[in-house]
Structures are given as C-alpha cells and as structure tokens.
C-alpha cells in the first residue's frame, strides 16, 4: 500500500496543537515539555520504546490525566483538561490497545453506548444502524451491526472500536499500538482504512514501536524518549536505522542468539495436548499441540495473542490442567502443581508480572521466596526460617540487581523492570544445594520493559540456555522471536502450525503461519 498523500488542507491551520505538556508521576518525568502539531489529512506516528511517555501523552490528550503544565488546542480552541467528555466533544477519538467493549452486547449497542442522553425514553436504533452502516461503507470497515462482540475476532473488534470513535464524529483519531494484536495481513487491512480516513480529511495519531510499519503509514514521525520529544521529521526523510538511533539514544547492535551447539536430551515433551476454553475468558484453547523442548535450546513461540499461547504457558507453569494429551517432564508425567514443578527444576516467568508474578502487598523477601517457602530449607514445622529465607532473598536481589526497594518493603513499590528481575531471579536462582533450572518457561518476559531491562532479561535467558537449560520463550513480539529463537514454533488456533530452525523461517512465512496459512493449510 502506498502512503496516502496528505489531503488538501494539510498546509492550513493545525487541527491539534500540543504545547509544552509536562506530566510527572512521582520520581518519573513521564512527559517533559512536549509540543506537537497535527494537520488535517495527516498521519503522525508517535514512536518510542515502552515507557517513553507515548501513552501518558495520549491519556492527557484524551482527558484521562491532567497535565502538570502546558495546554492543548483543538482547531484553535483550548481543550478543557482532564475531561474525556470535552475531548470527545472536540472530536478526539481513541482506540485503546486493550479494547473497551462490552462482550455481551451487539456491535450496534457498543457503538451507541454512551452516545445517547439518558433521559431519552427510547433509543434511536434505526437511525443509529443507518449511520453505522454509512460510516462502515465510507471508510471500508465492514461489520455486522447485530453480531455480539464476543463472537468477533480481534481484528473485527478493533474495527468496532474505530467505528465507535467515528460515530462520535471524531476528527482526530488516536490509535495506541493498533497492530500489536493483529496478524500482518490484518495490519495491512488496517493501513488501508487509515489511508481512506486521512483521504477524507481526518487526522490520525499512530502510536507504535515497530519501525517498519511506522515508516509505511505515516507522513510525519515524532520520536519520544524518556518523556522528551527527541526528534521529529517527515517520514520520507527517515530510515529504520535513524529512527532506532533516536528511540534508544545510541546505535543498537542486533543481538544474535547464535547457535549454542547441538541441543541435548529431551527435557519436556507435549503430545496431542488439548485444553477446553474457559467458561468466560474468550475462545482460547489448545487442540492437539505437539512440542518438544531439549536441553540447551531456546525455542521461541510466535503467534497472534489468543491462539493458545496462554494455555500453553499455564500448563507448563502448573496452573492449568490439560484435558487430554500427554505431557512429560523428563521421564515423569508433568503435574499441574507449581510446587512440584519448582522442585523438579522448572523456572517460570508468567505473562502478567504484577497480577500473577508477585503479590504486591507482601515484602520483596517473601515474594522472592514464595515458590520455595514450603521446602525444608526455609520452613521447619510450619514456621518460616526467616534468617535463611531473608538471606536467600538478599542473594537473589543482589544477583539480579533488583533496585528501588529494600527486602522488607512491599513489591508494589518496584518498577516493572525490577519486578521482572525479581521474578526472574526467583525462578533462575535456586538456593544453594537445589538443582539449577532445567526448563525455563518465559511468557512475554520483556513486555513493557525499557531497553536496559529487556537486554538484561534476554541475557539471563540466554545464559541459562548456555548452562544447559531448555528455554521456552513465548512472545507476541515477532522481532523478539526472531532475535532470540534458535528454533521457532508458530501457534495458530491451539496448535503448533510450524516448528523448525530459525534459519528456515522468513518473516513473511511466520506471518503467514500466524494467520493460519502455510504449514496449517498444507496439513489440512
């Protein structure tokens, strides 16, 4: 798809002016005097690492936060700060990364929700349906108004979110990492829609940290780093290397996982594993998954989120039982029991650090010991051996460089990166005498971390692999999969649809397999 040329009016007065916006959260300067303008018919990409301040800026624009300093003008008029309704009334629409849709309502209901006054006795569904259809046709966003949202695919849900904003007469549309949940093919469709929107005079702010797509879809690119606007340039004058340099502040050397010799014996084998979807949480399931993990090998699992990766991770972390198939760890059947897995040398890094990895209210040392508190080294007759426990906790905190809080303060005080270091340390650093981990299951271990922490986490995983552990890395981030995996397995609809050495994959082939094509089509 060719980049849409800025529509007429691009040279006129800006539709949006962000002036000297600053916002501080405690010690963190999330936004530091950021100024940006946006014109009609323009796609402005906001680029930056996780934590660079993109989301904060958008939240201020949409009225979720109030800036400490600075102001915003829409079409020349000042925007009342801290008020989402004012933002909507001014024509600002936002598509969040995590959709804000009611699953149990129809598309039409979701679109109408909140757009009608409460005192109106009847809803004007007929008019609303017509309007929705008209909008869908105009921008190329086909939806079925009466379908229930829970029946829709992720890509369709995103369309509903966009239509919701358009229905409220959005003239400025913000998309927060819209392609994170899409297959490459679905992303293409989205880019076409964006082109048609700007051709009709809308302005779009496109938030991403993927360089390629940013260069493709945007007219102008603004790069944030550590809360500051570090660069701004027309997309035609940018190239990936330059953008990457702006984003991280220095040249990045692509980490090459490199071959680590020949993989050793089989550590974990899954054959024909089946799980049923949870009653309430989506359609995710496994339907006949085969996967073998060998000592000294890092296997990266790619896939669009929701295709069974979570179930796979939960199975290997012991918090979900399989409904069928064979799971073996070494020469034993794998048990759905976290304590048993830990005792057998399985190191587990869950997807959600703060909700599953740590108990925020409890002190660091208890969190660092949570997995092993029941073992004789740390408990005797039901009483915790506090001295031994704290000593081990201090070792973990030191070795994994957990900063920001002492062993006695609550884990909630940690930043995301330090939380992840703590979880990683707990998993990878057994107390003296206990065996080193032989299987490591890491689900989205670098999600939302800053560059330094990402590097640290990846380094530790590779180090553990070099010491002979089998590593399973499940990630939604294709770049991470490509950078880390010696073997890459692609999941689609509850199965591994392609599993071969990283050298035998191209990015396109992975994208195709993620969408259910490729190997899956051949097998069918």
């Amino acid at each position: 798809m060719a980049r849409a040329e800025p529509a007429r009016g691009a040279a006129g007065p800006p539709v949006l002016e962000i002036v000297e916006i600053s916002k501080r959260f405690g010690a963190l300067q999330a936004n530091d005097r950021i100024s940006l303008t946006l014109h009609r018919g323009e796609v402005l990409a906001l680029l930056g690492e996780n934590g660079a301040g993109k989301s904060t800026l958008m939240s201020i624009l949409f009225g979720h936060y109030r800036a400490d300093a600075g102001h915003i003008r829409v079409a020349g008029r000042p925007l009342a700060p801290g008020d989402p309704r004012a933002a909507i009334a001014a024509g600002i629409g936002m598509v969040h990364q995590h959709f804000a849709l009611a699953d149990n309502l129809s598309v039409l209901d979701n679109v109408m929700l909140g757009s009608e006054p409460l005192w109106q006795p009847f809803t004007r569904r007929r008019a609303a349906r017509e309007r929705l259809r008209a909008l869908a046709g105009r921008f190329g966003l086909p939806v079925e108004p009466d379908a229930l949202v829970r029946e829709l695919s992720v890509g369709e849900r995103q369309r509903v979110e966009i239509l919701k904003a358009l229905y409220r007469d959005a003239r400025i549309l913000m998309l927060d990492e819209p392609t994170a949940v899409l297959t490459p093919q679905e992303s293409e469709a989205l880019f076409t829609v964006l082109a048609s929107m700007v051709a009709q005079g809308l302005a779009v702010i496109f938030i991403s940290h993927k360089l390629g797509e940013v260069l493709r879809v945007s007219h102008r690119i603004a790069v944030l780093r550590a809360g500051r606007l570090v660069a701004q340039a027309p997309a035609s004058e940018c190239d990936p290397a330059r953008l990457a340099r702006w984003m991280v502040g220095h040249e990045i050397d692509e980490r090459e996982a490199g071959p680590a010799g020949s993989p050793g014996e089989t550590v974990c084998a899954l054959r024909g594993v089946v799980t049923a979807p949870d009653a309430r949480a989506g359609r995710e399931r496994l339907r006949g998954l085969d996967l073998v993990l060998r000592a000294g090998e890092l296997v990266a699992v790619a896939g669009v989120s929701g295709n069974g990766q979570r179930h796979l991770a939960e199975l290997l972390c012991g918090v979900r039982a399989a409904d069928g198939g064979e799971l073996r760890l070494g020469d034993e059947p794998l048990r759905a029991d976290p304590a048993w897995l830990v005792s057998r040398g399985v190191a587990r890094v869950p997807e959600d650090r703060s909700a599953v990895g740590l108990v925020g209210e409890l002190p660091l040392w208890e969190n660092a010991l949570a997995e092993r508190l029941r073992t004789p080294e740390f408990a005797r007759g039901g009483w915790v051996r506090r001295a031994a426990a704290r000593e081990q906790a201090e070792r973990v905190l030191r070795a994994f460089d957990v900063r920001g809080a002492g062993a006695g303060s609550s884990a909630r005080a940690l930043s995301g990166g330090n939380m992840q270091k703590l979880i990683l340390g707990r998993a990878l650093m057994p107390p003296p005498g206990a065996p080193a981990p032989r299987l490591i299951v890491a689900h989205q271990p670098t999600w939302g971390l800053d560059v330094g922490a990402v590097d640290f986490v990846r380094g530790r995983l590779l180090q553990a692999r070099d010491q002979g552990a089998a590593v399973l890395l499940i990630s939604d981030d294709l770049d991470e999969v490509l950078a880390m995996g010696e073997r890459i397995a692609v999941m689609h609809d509850g199965r591994i649809v392609g599993d071969r050495s990283a050298r035998a994959w191209s990015r396109e082939a992975i994208g195709l397999a993620m969408a259910g094509g490729g190997d899956a089509a051949r097998a069918a």
């Binding site: 972390c317 918090v319 976290p338 108990v359 925020g360 409890l362 949570a370 029941r374 039901g382």
Partner: protein, 353 residues
C-alpha cells in the same frame, strides 16, 4: 476531583490516621451531645469515668471486650484471606449451644469425667460448631463461587432460629419458669474471676492469648504466609504454589472456631447458660473491631477495648445525664468510617484539579 495513590506512604501518616479518626469521631459526637442539650465536657468525662474510671468500670469494659476480641479476631483472620465472614454472630450462638450441650446436659447424665477433660471437650465442641458452620459457605465459595457474604449473613438467621427452637425444646431448662433459656453449664466448668466482685473472668486472658497466637501465626508461619498471599492476590499465590482453596478452608475453620469459642467463653465466663439475647450483636461488632484494627490481631485487642469502652461508658453516662445511649452506636459507626477514610488518605491523596 480524583484520588491518586501517594508515591510513598509515610509510616507517620499511617500511625497518625487512627488518632485523627478518633479525634474526628469525638468532634462529630460532641455536636450531637450539644444538640441533645447536654454539657459536652461533662458528658465526655462521665463517659470516660463510666468506661475506665474505676476498677468496676474497667472490669465491666473488659468483660464486654472479651467476646468482641474473639469475634474481632474471627473477622480479622477471615478478611485477611478475603473470606468475608459476616456470620460470626451465628457461629457464636452455635458455639454457645454446643458448649452447653457438652458441658451442661452432661451434668444431668451424671457421667464422671475429669473436669479438665470435660472443659477441653466443651471448648472444642464450641470451636468445632463454629468452624463447621463456616465450612459450608467456604466450600461453596471455593468450589462453586457462591458469595460468602450472602451465605454467612443468612446463616445467622437460620442459626438463631434453630437455637430458639432448641431453647424452647430439647435444651430448655425445666427450672427456668417458662423462659426460653438453656440448661446451665456445669458450675465446675465456669471460668474463674480475674477481679473479685466483678464480672471480669479469665476468658479475657484466653482472648488476649488468642490474639497473640494469631499474630504469630500470620507473621511467622508458612500458613500465615498462605493466608496473607491468598488474601492479597490469590492468582499470584496460586502461581507461587500456595494451596489457595485449602487455605480458604483452613481459614474458615479458624475463623468460625474463634467465633464459636467466643460463644462458649461468654457462657462459661458470664451467663452460665444460653439465651437468645446473650449477644447484643458481638458477631457484627467483631467486624467493626477488625476493621478498626486494620485486620491486625494485636490491634484487635485495642479496638475491642475501645468499642467496649464506648458502649459501657455511654450506658453509664446516659444514666447520669440523660443523653441517649444511641450516642455509643453513632460513635462506633463514625469511628469505623473515620478510620477507613483516614487509612485511605494515608495511602491516597485527593486532587481537586
């Protein structure tokens, strides 16, 4: 206007919060006293004297604090694990009736059992009755996701009606001249007096010991870690290998057992038999005590004495000066709200713009 989490919670603010809450409570109550047309200063001095001003007053306050302490602990430990046990009132009555069944009916049967053994059996029966009563709701919660607030609350009424039926039926004391009153506990089993010529009994020591034991359990044992982790974040607890369902069941047994024990100690220490008005809402009062104490077992000791002092002091003050005893209920309620709000502001700040 919105709430924002404070970057760091100062220990000073956390320590100051309950004091400010009490000051606020006194302020609100002072307005009411003025409204009732009484002299504020004299009302407070009478109330304080009535609660703590003499050995007799203090003994009376501590007598009232004893069951509150036990039901407060029952609520505190359950709430720590996010098991919202609103049924301490029913568990207390179940414990009381079970105590009399073992330690009272026996008296008529003239079995010869050593007193110490019978006493232990009496208390154990009471704890077991309370525990079993909470086990049902706990299992319904952990197996089927049934809301325990509803089941434990409604169980209170069932238990009270069942006790009422027993008091008019098989457990009725034939010598009570038609009053719905249970047979008496074997006098051998009654608790000793801590202070002569007062009602204060050794149950207070048992309650304090229970608080200290519970504190040690929560702080120093694996089980205590299980309880705290389960309550704070059950998903993370399960991920780390804490047996979450089993923890909830054990907490239910502990919480119900403490509430049942409160009933048995009331019978053995104060009344000697079970009546339908033996508890003026100690089970519900325990929830207030636990919340005032911030769910801390040692805090429960102080909070139960405070609540009992307000109740006893208000009784005494009311007799002397004519301000209705409702003032006590208002004070306890305001204190609870003030403590919760003060705790909130210690951790969060209000932003006007």
């Amino acid at each position: 206007m919105r709430l924002e989490r404070r970057d760091e919670t100062s220990r000073l603010a956390l320590a100051l919060a309950p004091l400010l809450a009490v000051a606020f409570t006194l302020g609100v109550a002072s307005l009411l006293v003025r409204w009732a047309g009484a002299p504020v200063g004299r009302t407070w001095s009478l109330m304080f004297a009535g609660a703590f001003g003499s050995v007799f007053a203090l003994a009376e306050t501590l007598t009232r604090a004893t069951p509150l302490m036990l039901t407060g602990l029952a609520a505190a430990v359950a709430f720590r694990a996010r098991l919202y046990n609103i049924g301490a009132e029913g568990q207390l009555y179940a414990g009381a009736i079970a105590a009399v069944m073992v330690g009272g009916l026996h008296g008529g049967a003239s079995l010869t059992v050593p007193t110490a053994l019978l006493f232990a059996a009496t208390m154990a029966a009471a704890a077991l009755a309370g525990a079993l009563l909470l086990l049902g709701p706990a299992l319904l919660k952990s197996r089927l996701g049934v809301d325990e607030v509803v089941t434990t609350l409604l169980a209170n009424f069932i238990v009270l009606l069942a006790v009422s039926a027993l008091l008019d039926g098989p457990m009725k004391d034939p010598l009570a001249m038609g009053w719905p009153q249970s047979v008496a506990l074997d006098p051998e089993l009654e608790l000793g007096r801590l202070i002569e010529r007062t009602r204060l009994h050794t149950g207070l020591l048992a309650a304090i010991a229970a608080a200290v034991l519970l504190w040690a359990l929560l702080r120093f044992t694996v089980w205590g870690f299980d309880i705290r982790a389960t309550g704070a974040n059950s998903r993370a607890a399960a991920f780390a290998g804490v047996p979450v369902g089993w923890t909830v069941v054990r907490v239910a047994a502990l919480s119900g057992g403490l509430a049942g024990l409160a009933g048995a100690i009331e019978v053995a220490g104060r009344t000697g038999y079970v009546t339908l008005d033996m508890s003026p809402g100690y089970g519900y009062g325990g929830i207030v005590v636990a919340m005032l104490a911030g769910l801390h077992p040692l805090g429960v000791i102080a909070a139960s004495v405070f609540v009992a002092g307000v109740l006893v002091g208000a009784d005494s003050m009311s007799r002397a000066i004519g301000v209705p005893t409702y003032l006590a209920d208002v004070m306890v309620a305001v204190a609870l709200i003030a403590v919760l709000v003060a705790g909130l502001f210690a951790r969060w700040r209000l932003r006007w713009r």
